[in-house]
Symmetry: C2
Subunit: 210 residues, 2 copies
């Protein structure tokens, strides 16, 4: 993974922390603060402030001053580095509660994620709209992948349909599958899958509960 | 983080991978397979098979034989190590689409996560049921935290309410907040927060898209 503008490697962990700093900066801007210190961000995330400074040094211009980082500039710099202005088009596959929740999540577009429409096979759902996005018949997916040049699919179907649908998506030219199903998908080497492993996260975070 | 039965450290990354092996094993059992190799699991997750073997060596009894790992025994061993039989009670705070999706997710109980009920402040929702779980008035939370000894809250409210609700939950004795809102919460040191940083994940996985 490379940040093209600077040819510096940015690891997954750093990307993850940068988005959390970004959340903090949004809150600071809302509350009217002009500057923020690495210590303030570190305290909120319970990490070391040297880690925060190291991460922010990777940005092309963090704007660091003697009184701290100017929040607006720092926010902008994170957005540039992480490519928030890129338009990444995606379909949601499965218009159940989770698919609907993701479709309603307006915040996505701030990060460059543009959800074009949802797909389902339930006649009761097909034709309806969620947050200005249409629920379409899964059979019409092939045409729409090509029409909109979409290569990201967000998979929110029941686990038992996940592999069959993944095969179908791959055949239609989808290259990135954001997998919210509790299934490990088998896909060709040129297709990227991100497993949103909710139970893994839950178990990590509650592991010390007796 | 310690696995008490063996006093061995299990890192967050290993816990995450163990839950993915567990998903794979469930699929293998469904398809009638009796044995699985570290190579098969590694290929599905695109990791090195030496990594899989190293992880499985941490289990008290992986059951490894010359023809591979017996799937049922291995699955059981992962469940024991990760404490799937512990009963971890939780409330969902926010009965919107995401809260509903999580309430309907039957798979949770297999991992020891027992969702008692949902809470909301919308009179239209209060009193209704989702997947045999009642949607209750957020005002009644204090009594129910004590009645059921719940210390985990799953926060699925709009971002603008997140911090206020987190303060309320902490005051009521909640010790673990699974945070699905795009907000970095300020909580006392003895409260654990897991940020389900969806946008961070999305940006990691699509970072190479031009």
């Amino acid at each position: 993974m490379y940040n093209n503008s600077m040819d510096k490697k940015i690891s997954d962990k750093v990307i993850n922390r940068l988005t959390l700093y970004h959340c903090i900066l949004q809150d600071f801007i809302k509350s009217g603060s002009e500057y923020i210190s690495s210590k303030q961000m570190a305290a909120l995330l319970r990490i070391d402030d040297s880690q925060v400074r190291k991460d922010l040094n990777l940005l092309s211009n963090s704007g660091k001053t003697r009184v701290g980082y100017p929040v607006k500039e720092l926010k902008k710099s994170i957005e540039t580095t992480l490519g928030f202005s890129k338009n990444k088009k995606a379909f949601i596959i499965g218009a159940g509660n989770l698919g609907m929740a993701l479709a309603k999540y307006d915040n996505f577009s701030n990060y460059g994620l543009n959800i074009i429409s949802l797909f389902d096979n339930d006649p009761e759902k097909i034709g309806k709209e969620v947050n200005n996005k249409k629920i379409l018949d899964i059979k019409d997916l092939p045409v729409l992948v090509w029409k909109h040049y979409v290569d990201i699919a967000i998979l929110t179907v029941p686990a038992c349909y996940a592999q069959n649908l993944a095969d179908y998506l791959v055949n239609m030219g989808i290259k990135y599958i954001w997998n919210f199903t509790p299934t490990v998908l088998k896909v060709p080497d040129d297709v990227q899958v991100w497993n949103e492993n909710l139970m893994g996260n839950f178990l990590q975070f509650t592991y010390d509960i007796k």
